[in-house]
């Protein structure tokens, strides 16, 4: 009852959480592009990751230095855990794409918990969407190049050995699930995970601040330690989510590429 009388705890609307004022805008062919803080973070991360790889592998030494050692461990982890179990040794050709994809997505996700930024860049739909488009175009292009266009689409859509009567239905299901839902779920999975994480962290930290400063009851002023402790644990959880979502995004791309390389039937 004391709670009910206190001035309410207001959660900011989601649109407010994810909207940033543009620093500057420019126009290309009738489309207006807004360059915001988030865009700058993304550019900085792109430069950072590119710079790290160039610095580590520009002059590879037989006895690697600290940086080269570190980056080699990262690349090796991706090869061992993502490429070899899904595509196999043949997947070494697609290592550059998958490595870049993993590190980029991971860095974007990880901005969620970096102080002063604290915004997961991949929770803006545009970025997962374009990453999913890259994956989509890649696996279709690889399939067409490897098997030829007719064989590839036939193999992807038609399942051999099913009764003729049910085949039209299965063709529609396969077509939609492979060429429509795949890119959508790939993008939405990353986007929604990051967005949910950001909303969750925001609410928990706002709640701790509200308990500490603005609540009317003495009990809440003391009890703020509960939500605060929980939000610190959630930060650790969000780091784990950032890693696992980058892993899932990359491994799904690898699985799709593998399906294009080795037709199932």
């Amino acid at each position: 009852m004391i709670l009910a009388k206190a001035p309410g705890f207001h959660v900011p609307p989601v649109t407010e959480l994810f909207a940033f004022a543009p620093i500057f805008t420019f126009k290309v062919g009738g489309m207006t592009f807004h360059v915001t803080f988030v865009t700058f973070v993304m550019y900085a991360l792109t430069l950072l990751i590119g710079g790290l790889f160039v610095a580590a592998f520009r002059r590879p030494a037989i006895i690697p230095g600290t940086l080269q050692n570190l980056m080699e461990a990262g690349v090796d982890a991706i090869r061992e855990n993502i490429v070899l179990p899904t595509i196999g040794p043949e997947g070494d050709r697609y290592m550059p794409l998958l490595t870049a994809m993993f590190f980029f997505v991971f860095a974007l996700n990880f901005m969620e918990v970096v102080p002063l930024i604290q915004f997961p860049v991949s929770s803006h739909m545009a970025i997962p969407f374009f990453l999913a488009v890259i994956s989509y175009v890649m696996f279709i292009a690889i399939g067409i190049r490897r098997q030829g266009p007719i064989a590839y689409f036939k193999d992807a859509i038609v399942i051999p050995g099913v009764p003729k009567a049910i085949l039209p239905l299965l063709i529609v299901i396969e077509l939609v699930s492979k060429f429509v839902f795949r890119p959508i779920t790939l993008a939405v999975r990353l986007f929604a995970n990051m967005m949910a994480g950001h909303v969750m962290l925001t609410i928990f930290f706002l709640a701790s601040a509200y308990f500490l400063y603005r609540a009317d009851s003495l009990f809440l002023h003391v009890a703020f330690i509960g939500p605060l402790a929980l939000s610190v644990i959630l930060i650790g959880f969000e780091m784990f989510i950032a890693l696992i979502q980058a892993f899932i995004f990359t491994i799904l791309t690898a699985v799709y590429i593998d399906e294009s390389l080795h037709p199932a039937h």
Partner: protein, 80 residues
């Protein structure tokens, strides 16, 4: 219901739908993710040397099941 009438507000159907949509969307994936992880743990416990093989497939299954729940989460924001 009484509380809402006392406060002079009405509960709209959209608000109820917003409340329900994520809860309903999470039921199936919840069961699915439980099955995926449970069976993966069982597989690894029975054959620890297969852990490297099981883990990527486990995350794959987890991701595919989880997507449905997240679609519900996005729908929550789309309902107006």
């Amino acid at each position: 219901m009484l509380l809402a009438q006392a406060a002079g507000t009405t509960i709209s159907v959209a608000a109820i739908g917003k409340g329900l949509v994520y809860g309903l969307a999470a039921i199936g994936p919840g069961i699915g993710i439980g099955l995926v992880f449970g069976n993966a743990i069982q597989a690894i416990a029975r054959q620890p040397e297969a852990a490297g093989l099981v883990r990527p497939i486990m995350f794959l299954g987890f991701a595919l099941a989880e997507a449905l729940a997240l679609l519900g989460f996005v729908l929550f924001f789309l309902i107006t």
